[in-house]
Symmetry: C2
Subunit: 431 residues, 2 copies
């Protein structure tokens, strides 16, 4: 049987899993549509040079590369990978979005709000909960430098999560420019800032002692490390909050603070205590391309964030070849994490339609009355499935259909009048 | 700009295209769900050996192959492709379905009705209307040998097409076993039957003269070719119909005819003159795996069929290693063809929600009243987008938004009371 498995780290999706995934997709799309976001799509494959340009960071090491075809392929002169590949599977949706905007911006509104939902591929070491093909869901506002974009992204994303029954989640917010002020304040060298941030990003996993240890191991000046750790300690002790920030980091520009205050206050007022937002100086976000505010959403009881994003004003312009910067701000919902949390919590997908099974004896001479009845029932808004009656094991058959949400059963035998059974299953899948 | 294009033969999808594609997907899924079909999904990539097993026919020549990664890759010993690849992108959804069923059948009902909608990849020579990544939509009933499965597939597919505003389409139906009888009746050699069928399959394109020519060029016996052409001529002249079939091909088993009559009569009664179904001995269908009835749907005015399928009882069992045959019957809707026909006919996607744009002056000091108004309007069932007001060019901005279906506009300036404009565009995108 082994040879019938899907490729390592990739999945076959069963009908019940698809019902949940479709519900999540539909809910997310519906909410973002309500907020004026439009769906777009790029191909799953991109040119190999584009995917290896450096924008993808660590993800570029996990590329699935596609072999050249036909005459372009010549093994006799091959010494390395790049000679034989011309395409790769996308590892995220952000880098392709930049290319999409550069290629199509003339046909698009100047300010555009877009949503993408699609598969991405990464050749990670397979492990529980990590897949080599998985769905990402990215939402981006391109062309607006105003932080009202940040507010909209946070509000729409929170609304989507609320519609998926998430409650009391927490938005953490920071600004990359404040992190830069922090590193500068601690006298790290400018060209080592990213390395410092990458270590700080591990805080959740390795705690403050681990961060200190890694900084020391990397031979940063002791004075800088001490200063840095003392500030992060203040953050963890909730002593360094937004109102007291200037006391500890006097080099943060007022405009940056003002924008943060605006976003936090506006979101707080709109959230009406349904969820919370708070400043967190220790929030880093992995990718190097962020230029302004960054944010993550955490659900109580789960270690990993379920959504994250930020402003990246310098990336899209790069692909417009020498033209100006294009401001952009994005959010990414961890689609697979959301699905797995809902599964864990035995989330029941709401279903408005009744599922009816019409079980027929295969030897019937005419099916027209059954087919007409089925059509009538469908027109009335039901799901109706025709199934061959298992005469010797009808009970088992009905139980199996109940597992898929069927609650009404009609049996057609020997052209006799039909028998209809209404089953009230204890596990009610349909309401 | 060239370097920002997607890979050759692949597409970026604009928002308006996505609206149409999503409508087609949603309509198809909804109808098949009503008929008891459940959605499933396989990964986009499969193991290379599996995709090269021969089941895919010509499609296997158009494989996108994925390079091995890490230590498994060694160019110093490479002399051919197979040494350096381990995966490929799927070229259809039928072959992966067989693997899926073999791998998951223990977790699935014995009789299962499934629908798959997903991308497939073929490295075809790029040309107008042909893409290297495109969506397929396959519907299959597995586990039932009764021709009621054929009836259900034809009825559900017709219903889906009717819900996409297709009218007066025509279902052509034939049976592979009748084609075998025809070839046998004409005294072709058994091992050349497939070659004869492949030539007959070109009838639409090369007409009867072309078929004769190709048969003669392939050195088939003249007596066989003459007999064959005379029968196909009778078909084209509508002289060979189902009722007269035995007169010309006395070797066709009665049971095969009976099944055909059953399907045609049942579908005709259910169709109520909304569409038609007719026997067509010249229908072949490309793939070699069909074992029983085959069918195609044609829309008046279009050369290519928009859906096609048939029974393939011998394929799925192969992957269950030595166990019995698993009967199966499938239909495939030409998703891209359906989309391009609808586009050509300027099909307007029905939209139940009103689209409202709230245009705000960036310098406003508080956004809470706008955000609260937006939320209220969304709760009432509208799509509401916040947009930065272009003070110098408001008319152009409103025109641009109208293109995307917005019909109501509110303008917020200097914290003054808002101005609301209702625009009745002549191109009404929203009803």
């Amino acid at each position: 049987m082994y040879k019938c498995n899907p490729p390592e780290g990739m999945r076959d999706l069963l009908p019940q899993e698809m019902v949940l995934r479709n519900h999540v997709t539909k809910t997310i799309l519906e909410i973002y549509n309500q907020y004026g976001f439009m769906q777009i799509e790029t191909p799953c494959a991109e040119k190999i040079n584009f995917l290896s340009s450096g924008e993808g960071g660590e993800n570029e090491k996990m590329l699935f590369k596609i072999l050249k075809r036909g005459e372009k392929l010549n093994f006799s002169t091959t010494t390395k990978e790049i000679d034989v590949v011309d395409l790769g599977l996308r590892y995220d949706l952000t880098v392709p979005l930049s290319r999409y905007y550069a290629s199509n911006h003339a046909k698009l509104p100047k300010n555009i709000k877009v949503i993408q939902i699609g598969n991405v591929w990464r050749a990670e070491r397979p492990q529980k909960g990590r897949y080599r093909q998985f769905v990402q869901c990215d939402i981006d506002i391109i062309g607006s430098s105003n932080v009202i974009a940040e507010v909209e992204l946070i509000l729409a994303t929170s609304e989507a999560l609320r519609n998926l029954d998430f409650r009391n989640f927490r938005v953490r917010i920071n600004d990359r420019r404040i992190l830069v002020c922090l590193a500068r304040y601690c006298d790290f060298e400018e060209n080592t800032f990213d390395k410092v941030f990458i270590i700080l990003d591990k805080l959740d996993k390795i705690s403050i002692g681990g961060v200190r240890e890694e900084l020391e191991k990397s031979n940063f000046p002791t004075v800088s490390v001490d200063k840095f750790i003392s500030i992060i300690t203040l953050v963890l002790e909730k002593k360094l909050i937004l109102d007291s920030l200037l006391k500890f980091l006097p080099n943060v520009p007022e405009s940056v603070l003002e924008d943060l205050r605006f976003v936090i206050n506006t979101v707080q007022q709109q959230a009406e205590n349904e969820y919370s937002i708070e400043f967190d100086l220790s929030l880093v976000r992995g990718m190097g391309y962020y230029t302004g505010q960054i944010f993550e959403i955490e659900v109580a009881g789960y270690k990993y964030s379920i959504a994250g994003g930020g402003r990246y004003d310098k990336m899209i312009g790069k692909f417009l070849q020498g033209k100006e910067d294009i401001p952009a701000c994005g959010f990414s919902i961890g689609f697979e994490r959301v699905v797995s949390i809902l599964k864990e919590q035995n989330f029941i997908v709401p279903q408005s339609k009744k599922k009816i099974a019409l079980l027929y004896n295969e030897n019937l001479t005419s099916f027209n009355h059954i087919l007409s009845l089925a059509r009538e029932l469908r027109e009335k808004g039901n799901f109706v499935s025709l199934e061959v009656l298992k005469k010797k094991n009808t009970k088992k058959q009905i139980d199996a259909l109940s597992e898929y949400g069927y609650t009404s059963f009609a049996i057609f035998q020997n052209n006799e009048p039909l028998i209809i059974k209404e089953i009230n299953t204890s596990k009610n899948h349909t309401e």
